[in-house]
Symmetry: C2
Subunit: 331 residues, 2 copies
């Protein structure tokens, strides 16, 4: 195919204090570099949007990945198709996963792209967060019959974590989310046994009502009030995996602190993790996912937004909890 001379790409123009606005982004055509030997050109099909990107935009420290620098290309997980190749090991036509998102075309050495399977599903399936959910549940570790609580349950990770927990043997899975409509989706579509709207009262009270016998595992995507509630309701030898801290990311005023004394008294385990450090689990997860998809045992939920220019607003919608499942930008 003949490449266009330019493609849209995004960078930060200014760094917001807190949540960004459209004015903080520059989204404009950039000239595509000519690929050199060993390089390929990838036309991106889908860009992944993740709440953690808000921390990279705001420049908050503490994440194990670089923040977005002003004027520099923004990275992000994307899936695309090789349209021109100067490396015989990665021919044109391959579907690839990579980190050069926030642009319509990526030109880079072939080693930066990982070929992925073309299945009957949308290519965006490769951007879904099931491996994160699977990794957290394995690390906890989840045991057969456990009662599991998952916060941000309708989000990209939570919408798969509930289903995967059940498939891995959880006895009962409870989710929390931010609207009555999403509570319905959790129960009807996403495999949750119980769910609550966290604005409806103190989280600990709502959680206890859904889990009268306590919980054994807490998969934390939120922190703050949800983490404190989970510690309150956890049974002895309960296990917490820390995967995200949405409350901290979305509000300067939310109190993130916990009293660790119950961790000692109830002999609870807490572990923070990042999926990138557990890639040894990826092959088994991909096999399981293929089996579950084939059997119709798992239903990945997705929100699709069209066009890179709509990505900033979609990221804010995501942060505000207006989306169910994985949010992707179709490019």
């Amino acid at each position: 195919m003949t490449l266009p001379p330019t493609g849209l790409a995004a960078h930060l123009r200014t760094r917001p204090r807190g949540l960004p606005t459209a004015d903080d982004f520059e989204i404009a055509p950039v000239r595509l570099a000519s690929p050199g030997p060993g390089e390929v050109v990838v036309r991106n099909l889908f860009l992944s949007l993740d709440p953690a990107m808000l921390m990279l935009i705001a420049g908050l420290p503490g994440l194990p990945m670089p923040i977005y620098e002003i004027g520099e290309p923004m990275y992000g997980a994307a899936v695309g198709e090789v349209v021109e190749s100067h490396d015989p090991a990665l021919p044109a036509g391959e579907l690839v996963l990579h980190q050069l998102g926030w642009r319509e075309y990526a030109v880079a050495p072939a080693a930066q792209f990982r070929p992925v399977e073309r299945g009957p599903e949308s290519p965006s399936i490769h951007l879904h967060s099931g491996l994160v959910a699977y990794t957290g549940l394995r690390l906890a570790p989840l045991r057969t019959g456990d009662t599991v609580y998952i916060s941000s349950a309708a989000g990209a990770i939570g919408s798969l974590a509930g289903q995967i927990a059940k498939l891995l043997g959880a006895g009962r899975v409870i989710g929390s989310t931010g609207s009555a409509q999403k509570v319905g989706r959790l129960i009807d579509d996403l495999g949750y046994d119980a769910a609550f709207e966290y604005h409806d009262g103190p989280v600990a009270k709502l959680l206890r009502a859904s889990a009268p016998d306590g919980i054994d595992v807490y998969f934390d995507n939120v922190g703050g009030s949800h983490l404190r509630a989970a510690i309150d309701v956890l049974n002895p030898h309960g296990r917490i995996v820390l995967c995200g801290a949405l409350e901290h990311q979305l509000s300067d005023s939310a109190d993130p602190r916990i009293d660790p004394f119950p961790l000692l008294a109830k002999r609870i385990t807490v572990q923070g993790f990042t999926v990138g450090e557990h890639q040894d689990l990826a092959p088994e997860y991909r096999r399981l996912l293929r089996d579950w998809l084939t059997a119709g045992a798992i239903r990945p939920a997705e929100t699709i937004v069209d066009g890179l220019r709509n990505a900033p607003q979609a990221l804010l919608d995501l942060a505000n909890g207006n989306r169910v499942g994985k949010t992707v930008v179709r490019l």
Copy 2:
């Protein structure tokens, strides 16, 4: 031997708010019961004093063991000698470990007593907290070359945890304690590579000065300011074991809370434990301790107080940090 008609025993007369005073205890002679079939009489030699007893006295909830009830006999680890036996499996003369402390004589079924080895050391060695230290370090888990930080380092657990950490392969062991004199003991007698007096400044600053390359394991006996400092200074993939919460026990006003976000960002593991649930580690620890004692590789530190009537004051002294090593009452 002919038994005396009575022996001293202690119970709580009133429940203190916060730390107890001598008036809260009744320590008086009680008539010894006649042992029935299957029972033995044990003359206690040493009673163990533990900071957690202050929580049992104050009636604070949350510990995985019963509080002391008003007027009821107080329990506690003790080592004693069988002086009369009505069970052939546990003859007179045996040295035994048991939980019927806070009294000069214990009369109970033989099954409540566990025979222990009579070695060249004082029988009080069986009350030392090395198994607690060993369990925490194994659970962390401690890895060869790790830098380890231990709070309340001159206490019953810390005074052995530092030595055991080194024997298990730690690269560098750092302790904190409450006086310059005890800092000296940590370095000179107790195997610590570095130590600081925690009143000398913000704990995180003092810890960082002792551990310029960060710490890998934190053995927490204190909580609060020490736990927050450790989280601050821990390296990625750092590990925390929660063993005690002295700051919480000794002060109503100390803020126990931590910000869990660094646990996520640095992929840190935290686990609360109690030694009673890890008795599978006891046989290997006892073998190691015997080897270490024989080789002169470990030096258990001990403070001895004479007489049950002095136990309450000794418990307060212990809480106030005026003791080094394991505090025992000689009966």
